[in-house]
Point group: D2
Chain length 418, copies 4
């Protein structure tokens, strides 16, 4: 086990730790540690809401999830010798739940959660169909997660950090604020919002001097979206064994990470999708000098996934096209066609006895594949979603015999959108 | 080898065959044959342009590709006992190039092609960046395709029909024409067009009586897009061993298919993407009575891919977000983020000596994976594209040593958009 | 499809073809064709018994199988420029049953067979437990084989030539005859025999001049065993996409092949194991000059399997050690431990309603993996056999609920050892 | 993390721990803990030599390895309700090196070792070719092992317990002693020995009362071989996610385990093969009442491997037949044919610059596949060994360009057999 350069004590809040991370992107947030090229090190990560979501059978905590507080990130970690224009090479050596702790109040202590946000507090991919808040708790047994709220399925963990990235330069940050501000301005009162502007409330900026806090917090970017620096890419395949190449925008690169997931499907479609948890990540870093120019990387990470993902060989897949539920034709809209594919999957699963929200929670957290199958066949794009059949305790294939009926149990806890 | 119920003679045009297929969707196109539940049968398929694209080093044929003539489909095949509301179960037992013919003027006779359509004649996924026409010819050696136009790569075929589907009912057809007409009406002169309306010119309607031709041709839907009946889904994973469940809208289901591909990446991003060819498909059909209601299938096919796809274990992947090339922020636009991921991949590959169009042709035809990785992290969706490293004759991974230089050879033939 | 340089007419016997192959190994058998480095070509192959085994429900043909007549091989094919000391590079571009023929009296015409030889006519791996003759007929539907004699299983074909190899030099042939003769001499009357000496009866030696026949037939090696030249290796993984490197012992290399299998498990344990059939192989050849020395290959082929094998992810596995059924301890005998592992698998499968011979036929023909798991832990070696669970139509895993009961149907035809 | 029911303190010897395990098999060794059906629990395991092998550049410790002391096992663990005739279901939930300790003198603290035993102290699979002692030290970085003694390779860990099993009944133990004694008696002075008789010296028998020690130690079976109870099966595929079904011979089943490996090839061919280490295993147990009869399990474990093994898609494979190095023909000897296949692989790898012993150490520790490819083709069996090409830092495939040359570095430490 490599040295822990960012420890977290599970009994204390994120802001009360020996080293304090951050929840906004800004080039002036000081590094918490400096590492050298070739170094391996361990980083603890807190679950993204720092304990606000609990292991119970109510969705009130999801309904009231404190979105201003996210994501609680570990870092930044400065890498000696990294300069703007380089590529930062990051190897994810290992990643897992909170080590040596299998019970407790914090997600990652032997359990995790998936949530569907209410329309008025975040929303999600299918918020028109699912405006209320729902929650599912998942218990970890070794490599496997199961849930009392979504019965008769189990997933072999495809554990990964949902969020990792380098610090933006001041120039890049200004570009983000400009373009996202422009978008917000087109419909500033939309619910859910189009984007999230800088927000000093609940900002955590590591060891930034108090004198700078107000200014920096007013500029610092929110962590929800992925951007040129990587960030909240929520790529389920960034699991152990993965090598990532991030563009470097500031001296030292200033790598940060967090938002660990025990399992997730492509799209993380429930927003508080995935099985959220805290835990640890072991990393090794290196630098390709001048790599951005050498390899044509002006923005967004390149990566090479590891080879120990769960291996499934049989899948049931659903397709969708870019026609809305009420029959309106959109032009090559792959976002819509993926929504339709996912809704088709949900319709199918409800025939086995799952409630629609159970099916939705399943799609957000299971290792499903979401593919852009056709993007040129005007006017319809075609997206597809693949579910491994082996995650079900029963035969999920269509047959003349008709579907098995799941014992839906207590169902997924719900709290009404207000 | 099962009985050939739809034979094609490679020396004759599609309309001059013993049995004539069709290139439009309409419920009144008469079946060319009737099969029973449980039957296995072989169908020949003509390449989608019926020989208009030739094996040479010019892209003029792509520039002038006769888009009104597509897709040349085999069928319809009626299935005894299939009724509206049923699910038609189709097993793809086998699929391949034109059997026993390894040279000749017809794609599928030992070779195939990939094209980039010019902006004024079809366009494609990246038409803003690639407005001109390009072509690549691929030679088949056993399971493997290589190209004199895109050197130092080879693909193990993931052979599949790009297009397969059941006939629409009159009501469903009317719905298509209404919604697509509504879309076209929003910008009727757009180039490329938003959608393709019914078009009697070049329509082929099988054995439809001449007396009905004008009316039916004026109503029949074009075959470009995927729709509720399956159709041109261009799902690369519908390869041998796949089982598909299509909704049935007319008595007999009236299955048709064509547009075979030797290989294709997710999205078929060059439009005349994939490696296009003619060939054969062996099918077996069955029916799940009342399956649409039983399994919640109101539209769009369900499928279970086969288990003999080429198996790769190492991938290099690129990510993109929904920000345009000129920096404008779009809201959760997965179509755009996939464009950006593909453009990042192209930028990368050009550093190895490929021209941008070679890289684009490669992404359209290689067995790449395109994933909807993040669809909820406002305002950016995150799409990713995965390229198997083993398709390259050289080491395509980033390293401190810098990229290998491909000998680009003659390059991809080009004809300017006019 | 490459040119057919060794055609076979299914209506004629092996010896009555346009080009006649051989069924013995000898350096003087004249090549039937000469190919160049880089050439691709198609070869037809006759099933190993040339039609003696028929598609019926009796095992009499297996009981009386004409073992002197095997294997009917296609070739030899001379490769220009190949010299002793080189490595012959052979790419298996494609391989399949008899093309365009799906019914008829010859295995490969839409069907194949698996046999258990009687103890007095060949025997097999478990001949002490299975002294009688049995047969199973398999029907091919696309990629898949099923049997009326072994119900409720189906295999996706892992099609491969059981036998391929280069011609021995005179010196190498003499070595074979010496060492195998020495072995036979230790127990010349053993049943089944320890090895098979040269045998002029039923020898087929291609276009060898009649004047040489008697001498050559008296020296030529039988084709049953694998040897330095490759030969009857029965390696199930030599499927399409595989590249093999054979040592070259004579000018031209003189490659021959045959004994096609639709599917086989590791070990081909029933001897007439695998699903036997005739068909075609598409090959491409090249030469690495001096490759035997360069790569340290003094004997036995090197190979790199293809990447389109059926892909299974769940297996049930059985272990065995080198203790005989009656309790005697052998020293690190991996042959025995694999027998015991297979017998354990048979015991298990009989609990699901299969007869022991059905289970044995299944293990010979299904794509099972047989592994030398432990070879050093004195005195017991440990061998393991892995069966993919997805080949069964039912759940084959152990559970508290107990085993499913197969409807064994007519069972496997049997003819008593005499 | 489940509760640790068998903790080990890395600073203390195996016999000085809070709970003391054992290194012999005997029904009277008292359980160290009792668990219930459905329980999950963690067990620490000491490396098999309890620290006698150190992290240095000498092979003297391997030369003098204290073979009487092995294997240091954790357990026995009694399972409530398990009775003779039942099947004990064991899920390997997780397994890894010593948690939270990445440096120190004990294998498993961030490193492991592979050894080749000298002929006079254990020997091994190829002891005739490798009579001296050799050692390789492996460093763990996340999931990956590399060695200063075997350069330019790295393995993704296929971590597993080499040894796990239930306690024998008195009757079964007697049977073992009888049959192994009979074997030893055939050549009592053989070096290496044919088998290992009971040996009171260095026996560790847990909490067995001193009054019983002499008797029990004189009867208790050595742990080297696999037997009916599972035991030292050294099956590399018993990795995380695996479910095993052991026969139960005594009340409580009395499960024990140890001998963890970070990586191993099929056969564990160097005897002290694999990458040896200590660590932890998380288990869950259940019972199938009467399962031995229900499922036909009279001896030897059944298992279902997990789905997170390292996934490789390209392999280079070597074949061997049952002819000795000096040319003597053996009859269907799969042990010999696997030796020959391994020797062929070693010959090949030396052409790349590895010493023979480096190549041998590599084959013992890398995730190679060893298959019983042909076991019926008299007189030659055919075994094959598959090496994943991706474990090498260079291109290991044969080509006209000839082999890359490894920088063999210091080589593998050696100590002469004496």
């Amino acid at each position: 086990m490599p040295d822990v350069i960012f420890p977290l004590d599970s009994t204390r809040k994120f802001e009360d730790q020996e080293k304090v991370g951050h929840n906004r992107w800004h080039p002036e947030i000081p590094p918490v540690a400096t590492v050298r090229r070739g170094d391996s090190f361990r980083v603890h990560c807190r679950e993204w809401f720092d304990g606000a979501i609990v292991n119970d059978d109510s969705a009130d905590d999801i309904l009231n999830a404190p979105l201003l507080t996210v994501h609680k990130l570990s870092g930044p970690f400065a890498v000696e010798g990294a300069r703007p224009g380089d590529l930062l090479v990051v190897d994810i050596l290992d990643v897992g739940p909170i080590p040596q702790e299998d019970s407790g109040p914090l997600a990652g202590q032997g359990w995790g959660y998936t949530g569907i946000f209410a329309r008025n507090n975040g929303g999600g991919f299918l918020t028109d169909q699912f405006p209320d808040a729902y929650k599912a708790i998942w218990d970890f047994t070794g490599q496997v997660a199961t849930s009392r709220h979504v019965p008769e399925v189990s997933y072999v963990g495809l554990i990964h950090p949902g969020l990792m990235g380098t610090a933006p330069s001041a120039q890049l940050l200004a570009k983000w604020n400009q373009r996202e501000g422009d978008l917000i301005a087109t419909d500033p009162n939309r619910v859910p919002p189009l984007a999230l502007p800088p927000e000093p409330r609940e900002a955590v900026l590591g060891s930034l001097p108090a004198s700078e806090f107000e200014r920096v917090a007013g500029e610092a970017a929110r962590t929800a979206p992925p951007r040129e620096n990587g960030g909240n890419q929520d790529i389920k395949n960034l699991s152990k064994g993965t090598r990532i190449f991030y563009p470097v925008f500031v001296d030292g690169a200033n790598l940060s990470l967090g938002d660990l997931h025990f399992s997730q499907g492509d799209g993380e479609i429930t927003f508080c999708g995935a099985i959220e948890m805290g835990g640890f990540v072991d990393l090794r870093v290196d630098v390709i000098k001048g790599g951005m120019e050498t390899y044509g990387v002006s923005e967004n990470a390149i990566f090479m996934p590891g080879i120990v993902d769960p291996r499934y060989s049989e899948w049931i897949a659903f397709s969708g096209t870019s026609v809305t539920l009420d029959g309106k034709q959109h032009y090559l809209d792959s976002h819509l066609s993926y929504q339709r594919a996912c809704l088709h999957a949900i319709d199918y699963l409800t025939k086995f006895g799952y409630s629609p929200e159970q099916a939705y929670l399943l799609l957000g957290s299971a290792p499903i594949e979401g593919r852009l199958s056709g993007v040129v066949d005007i006017p319809n794009s075609c997206s597809t979603v693949y579910i491994p059949t082996a995650i079900f305790d029963f035969d999920v294939r269509p047959s003349a015999a008709g579907p098995h009926r799941v014992n839906a149990g207590m169902g997924a806890p719900r709290s009404n959108n207000t």
